[in-house]
Amino acid sequence: MQADETLDCMGLYCPMPIVKTAQKIKQLQKGQVLEIVADDPGIKQDIPAWSKTTGNEYLGLEEADGEIKIYVRKTQD
């Protein structure tokens, strides 16, 4: 999937990927896509939940060799 920005969260556990995602998404323009790269399996539940609460759009994930790439579109200001 094509992303406008990438956030490296490899080696980080909850809550840091969510904290960093919330900080990073502020730098994006509305409509842009953020890719989060992480290895904490909790992220697969957490990013959809975060998206639902914040009103941003969860686009899906790709997983290979323990590396999870997860995509969110910024839909809120």
Partner: protein, 177 residues
């Protein structure tokens, strides 16, 4: 979604843009390292999810807000003694289990560091940057003889149970830790 202008006046979408923030209120009663970590994980995650978070620290939880340095404080001999034994400060918090005279706690701190989990000091700073409000309970402070100068900077004023209940009434998430 498309931003097609319709017959609707401009106000409607503008109103949608800034809904009132949802609130979360935590009572932090415990002063142990593990419970403090849980409290701050939930608080910082809530703030990251766009919530207004208030942490109300009471009883042993006040130890989390105490400075690492400086005197133990306390008014009168017995309170001074108690505050010395119950010194507090994020760096002195112990695990609720497996403290083992400091060995277990030290090991857990090392594991946390290796896994890049923030320390309590770092969690407090992060939470403050995110606008998490931290309020000490005035009754606990009074009973234990803890004055404001024993607390770190940047925390809220002392407050009572009515403050907590008012916050909790307006909150979608309320937890006692």
């Amino acid at each position: 979604m498309a931003d097609a202008p319709t017959a609707e006046p401009k106000e409607a979408p503008e109103k949608d843009k800034a809904p009132p923030k949802e609130k979360m209120t935590l009572v932090v009663f415990s002063g142990e390292l593990d419970k403090a970590i849980a409290a701050f994980i939930i608080a910082t995650t809530g703030a990251s999810m766009g919530m207004d978070v208030t942490m109300f620290f009471t009883f042993w939880g006040l130890n989390i807000l105490k400075k690492n340095e400086g005197p133990a404080g306390g008014k009168g001999f017995f309170r001074k003694m108690m505050n010395r034994m119950n010194r507090g400060g994020p760096r002195r918090l112990k695990l609720s289990k497996f403290h083992m005279f400091g060995m277990g706690t030290g090991m857990m701190k090392q594991f946390m560091k290796e896994n890049k989990v923030p320390s309590i000091d770092e969690f407090i700073e992060m939470a403050q940057e995110m606008g998490v409000k931290m309020m000490p309970c005035s009754t606990s402070c009074g009973v234990m003889g803890i004055s404001d100068d024993l607390f770190r900077g940047g925390i809220g004023d002392q407050a009572g149970a009515a403050f907590f209940i008012n916050e909790a009434r307006e909150s979608k998430v309320t937890l006692f830790i």
